[in-house]
């Protein structure tokens, strides 16, 4: 039995209102909503659904194709995992989280640019409220100001496009903008880019990230770094690889911004001493890479990067937030040997870090391979070189953290468990299980990339063009 995708938005939104009314049982409503959504997302009907009785393209429509299906599945599963890891932290925000989930599902599913704006704002407001958990109101305020400016810019770009094309429907927009000149498109596209860049953590708008994610806990960190940013990146992908496909001029501008984001993020992560700060800069870098891929039109590699980053950051941010709560610091030099008594969590964290670096046998390697292959097949050498240099830096800072967290001990002496910071448990049992499951997923999908690739992009789907080709190639050892 297949359901209408509207339910993915309507159920959490409705439950959010109910949770506001019945404050006493809001945590159960939260659990119910998230679980129902995580199950439902596998049983929604593909295709275009009109809302409100208007015919497409006059009304608002939801589009569930392979791309948005991958997006909503990822988002809802991640939201579930985040709740499982830190339910205690999440329960007081039940209505906010549910509304945010509705907003994210809406963002990914909608086929209308203004509708997208509304859902983005719902998501953003829920994110602002969640950020206040960091107890740094000035940072939340900073986030809100940046978000508001971004949304005004988005609206401005949108209305300029509307003025040119007379439509807000994505499909029609694609057709009509095809006739427009690049110079005309440049300003609106840049404005829209800036608007989406807030949640996607891309450069001109990434100023909030340090303040908000740097003070995140084991729940909010996961929400910002993997859930919200994945949703925003999927929207980015939808717009810049399908709706407003950038031509040469616009493309060069956007890709340059994205690559600068990548480089700046990696370099900043390299110099950071705080665990969460390293992770947040690494998230910015990964977002930059995904954005560059989307803007070039390499949808499948970009989706792989997004998924890899989301799962990796889920594990790492929840661990980092939890470490901060347990030990009162997240300066990784002061956390020497924290994994000594948390072996399972440590292994999951290690797998996540190695996967983000793109080490083989893990999902990240498959992602990295697709990224490189896409560019080199196209004949671009510059971007792969940048990506690989970034990977060296990334590997350097991750291995530094891993070594520190695993092996305490003075330089010149053997690593010694007695020198570790203590033996507090990082996660509860459910949290550990969730994290381990995520890590197992990373390993399994790395060992069976073909299956994983097909799950993300079924053959013949929207992503099929540059899709599973490389995984099949690996399978056959390159025999074509």
């Amino acid at each position: 039995m297949m359901f209408n995708p509207v339910l993915l938005i309507a159920i959490p939104l409705g439950l959010a209102f109910i949770a506001v009314i019945f404050k006493k049982i809001q945590k159960w409503i939260l659990a119910l909503g998230i679980i129902v959504n995580a199950v439902l997302v596998f049983f929604v009907e593909k295709g275009e659904t009109a809302i409100g009785g208007f015919k497409i393209p006059f009304g608002i429509s939801l589009v569930l194709d392979d791309f948005s299906a991958a997006g909503v599945i990822l988002i809802n599963i991640l939201a579930l995992a985040a709740i499982v890891i830190a339910f205690k932290k999440a329960e007081k925000f039940a209505p906010v989280i549910l509304a945010g989930l509705a907003g994210m599902n809406g963002m990914i599913l909608t086929g209308d640019l203004f509708n997208l704006f509304v859902f983005m704002e719902i998501t953003a407001i829920s994110a602002y409220i969640l950020s206040s958990e960091g107890r740094k109101p000035a940072q939340s305020f900073n986030y809100l100001v940046i978000g508001s400016v971004g949304s005004v810019f988005y609206l401005l770009g949108l209305i300029l496009l509307y003025n040119q094309t007379g439509t807000l429907n994505m499909v029609l927009m694609t057709e009509k903008t095809g006739f427009l000149e690049q110079t005309v498109l440049l300003l609106p596209v840049l404005l829209i880019f800036v608007g989406i860049a807030v949640e996607a953590k891309l450069l001109p708008m990434a100023g909030w990230v340090r303040g908000v994610l740097g003070n995140s806990n084991s729940y909010t960190g996961v929400m910002f770094a993997s859930v919200y940013s994945s949703a925003a990146l999927f929207v980015f992908g939808r717009i810049f690889s399908q709706v407003l496909v950038p031509g040469t001029t616009v493309g060069i501008v956007i890709i340059t911004i994205a690559l600068v984001t990548f480089a700046a993020g990696q370099a900043s992560a390299f110099r950071s001493k705080s665990l969460r700060q390293v992770l947040l800069y690494s998230s910015i870098a990964q977002s930059g890479l995904a954005a560059a891929l989307f803007a070039t039109g390499f949808v499948f590699p970009a989706v792989l990067v997004v998924v890899n980053n989301a799962i990796g950051k889920l594990i790492m941010f929840s661990a980092a937030g939890s470490l901060e709560e347990k030990y009162g610091t997240d300066d990784y030099i002061g956390l020497g040997g924290a994994f000594n008594k948390n072996t399972l969590t440590g292994i999951a964290f290690t797998i996540a870090a190695l996967s983000l670096t793109g080490l083989p046998l893990l999902f990240g390697f498959y992602a990295k391979l697709n990224v490189l292959a896409a560019y080199l097949n196209q004949g671009t050498f510059f971007v792969p070189a940048v990506v690989l240099l970034g990977t060296i830096v990334e590997g350097a800072y991750f291995i530094k953290i891993l070594i520190k967290l695993w092996a305490p001990g003075k330089e010149g002496e053997w690593a010694d468990a007695d020198q570790s910071v203590g033996d507090k448990r990082i996660f509860s049992y459910t949290g550990t299980i969730a994290v381990i499951l995520a890590a197992v997923l990373v390993v399994l999908s790395g060992l069976l990339p073909d299956t994983a690739g097909k799950l993300i992009a079924p053959e013949g789907g929207l992503l099929g063009d540059d899709g599973p080709a490389i995984s099949l190639l690996i399978q056959k050892g390159g025999d074509q």
């Binding site: 001109p204 100023g207 990339p449």
Partner: protein
């Protein structure tokens, strides 16, 4: 038994060893012995199935004689060192993790040597890199694991670039096809050659990538240093080999400018190998720590191997291949004997030991024979392979490189005997008087390696026959072998006769030594100091700063490590800059940035279109 099964079983044993170690770490360590010996025997038996291909998951393997040869060398280092593992479990922070990673990295090396396509090669390669990085951090230095990983990553990423570039050019990942098809693109081929060989250079420790060896070899757990130096370094040699054979470097670069018949790109790499010989030798002379000294000697020997392999000719290439075995055996034995000493005394600093020959005579003999081989002195194997490399260089008239190789040989006399005299000879520290020789379980691998060292020296043709097979399979004219004699253009070598002559010399020296044993015994630190009181006790050790006058000649030489330091500082500076500019925590900054971005974007767009 096929290769898939070997890899799967060793991985499974690794997992079992992990679980067993959780209960009893010694039992887990014993599993590493079992697992590695099993792999050694199983791979040895693969000889009959050479030439077949096999697939596991998405990995494709191709059983070549080259891979078989390398795999045996590697597994020899792993299995012999494994005998030491049970005795070091107490010192390790994660015994279970160590045992697991030990076997996992071993399984990884198998995949590297038998890879048919690049994906397989790279996947297994990186598996080895990160699993060994996690082993190294358990040793004496965290910094070591970091440096090791970063340098390896530089090499690996360059190689990945080469792999993907070749794929983008020829459309295939199969090693021979992907590289074979590059002949039509000589411009790209240079880039691919240089970047592909980078991982190999980083692994062998060729200048300027050599900085990780003293760190990692010197500080890794004593039971892993032999594997690192004797085994893993040879993975780099394998990649270097691929870059002249699978990548038909001589064919592709044949039309280019060349120096004495060697195309310039290849000559450049050989020159780097020559520099490594010099740098490794000079640095080894300086060291005060026995393991660091041996690590630098690995740098120098890596240079020999690289030069030999890159010649890809009848004689020098055979020498390079032969030197892989010799150096693996000798350096594994040397590191193991130092580990055995460290097991008893708890240190590897030369100035803290002395006279161990009285306590650990067998270990002494093991070390002696190992360094004789390493220094390339007859009658050990190292002499045969270095002789072949010299012959190759002389044939081609590559004087500069031959000179450095010669320099390295002389230099190695200077440094390899220092641990010998400092650790084993002289008087025993009072502290160490009650120390005993290590147990049979630890002596066994050392003795086996020593016998192998002798075997390579006395009957090198046993190994050279395999080398000729490799040469034939790669389409190179094989080195000429007669009955126990190696024949080259410039002469011939009968290793057995050399052994007889040198053995006779040894015997005479030994008799003289026994006959005139009348030296006065004093306490080790009882040194004449001109009535000056020396506070630092280790300065009294006669082997401390042994070559100080010589070292002064090059003490001002630039340190390569500083280069990497500077690069890291630069990246941090860029990071600081980016944080200050882009990631400020005030809203006004971001608003300005947005306006700037839009403005610049529009201007750039206007300029571009």
């Amino acid at each position: 038994m096929n290769l898939n099964l070997i890899i799967i079983i060793t991985t499974a044993v690794a997992l079992v060893a992990y679980l067993v170690s959780k209960v009893n770490d010694k039992a887990g360590a014993a599993m590493t012995v079992v697992g590695s010996l099993f792999a050694l025997i199983a791979v040895f038996l693969l000889r009959d199935s050479i030439g077949t291909e096999i697939t596991l998951l998405y990995f494709n393997f191709n059983l070549t004689v080259t891979g078989w040869y390398f795999a045996l060398v590697m597994l020899m280092a792993y299995s012999m060192t494994a005998f030491f593992n049970p005795f070091w479990m107490k010192k390790l922070i994660y015994p279970a993790g160590y045992n697991f990673l030990y076997l996992l990295s071993m399984a990884g090396t198998l995949g590297v040597f038998f890879a048919k396509d690049f994906i397989t090669l790279f996947v297994f390669w990186e598996t080895v890199v990160w699993s060994s990085a996690f082993i190294i951090q358990m040793g004496k230095s965290r910094q070591a694991a970091y440096v090791y990983y970063v340098i390896s990553a530089i090499g690996s990423m360059a190689t990945l670039f080469a792999i993907m570039f070749a794929y983008g050019t020829t459309g295939t990942f199969v090693i021979n096809d992907a590289f074979g098809g590059l002949a039509a693109y000589p411009g790209r081929a240079i880039v691919i050659f240089v970047t592909f060989i980078a991982a190999g250079m980083a692994k062998i420790g060729i200048f300027p990538f050599h900085v990780w060896l003293p760190f990692a070899h010197g500080s890794a757990p004593h039971t892993f240093s032999p594997v690192l130096s004797g085994g893993l370094v040879k993975m780099g040699a394998f990649v270097a080999l691929l870059s002249v054979t699978a990548f038909p470097a001589y064919k592709i670069f044949g039309g280019m400018a060349s120096f004495r018949g060697i195309p310039l790109p290849i000559y450049f790499m050989m020159a780097l190998g020559a520099i490594s010989i010099v740098v490794g030798t000079l640095m080894a002379i300086k060291q005060e720590d026995a393991k660091k000294l041996l690590a630098y000697s690995s740098v120098a020997n890596g240079g020999y191997i690289l030069i030999g392999l890159l010649m890809l000719d009848q004689v020098g290439f055979a020498g390079g291949l032969m030197h892989i075995v010799n150096h693996a055996v000798a350096s594994a034995a040397a590191f193991l004997s130092i580990a055995a000493v460290a097991y008893r005394t708890g240190t590897t600093k030369m100035s803290e030991m002395g006279g161990m020959i009285h306590r650990m005579p067998i270990t002494y003999v093991v070390y002696l024979i190992a360094i004789i081989s390493m220094a390339g002195i007859p009658p050990m194997g190292g002499f045969v392979s270095k002789w072949l490399i010299f012959q190759g260089l002389a044939d081609k008239g590559l004087l500069f490189i031959a000179a450095t190789a010669f320099f390295g040989s002389i230099g190695s006399f200077l440094y390899v005997f220092r641990p010998l005299s400092a650790v084993f000879l002289g008087q025993t520290f009072t502290r160490d008087l009650n120390k005993k020789e290590v147990g049979v379980f630890m002596l066994f691998p050392m003795v086996v390696l020593t016998l192998l060292s002798l075997l390579t020296g006395i009957f090198p043709n046993i190994f050279l026959r395999v080398v000729t097979e490799i040469q034939t399979s790669l389409g190179v004219l094989p080195v000429t072998l007669a009955e126990n004699t190696i024949v080259t253009n410039n002469g011939f070598l009968d290793a057995f006769k050399v052994f007889i002559v040198f053995g006779f010399g040894f015997a005479i020296a030994f008799v003289l030594f026994i006959a005139r044993r009348k030296s006065r015994r004093v306490e080790l630190m009882d040194t004449y100091t001109s009535a000056e009181f020396i506070h630092t006790r280790e300065l009294l050790h006669y082997s401390h700063s042994f070559y100080a006058p010589f070292e002064r000649l090059y003490e001002k030489a630039p340190d390569t490590m500083k280069l990497y330091h500077k690069a890291a500082v630069k990246i941090s500076e860029i990071g600081n800059f980016a944080e200050a500019i882009f990631f400020g925590i005030k809203p006004a900054r971001t608003v300005l940035l947005v306006m700037g971005t839009v403005l610049i974007g529009i201007i750039a767009g206007g300029v571009l279109s």
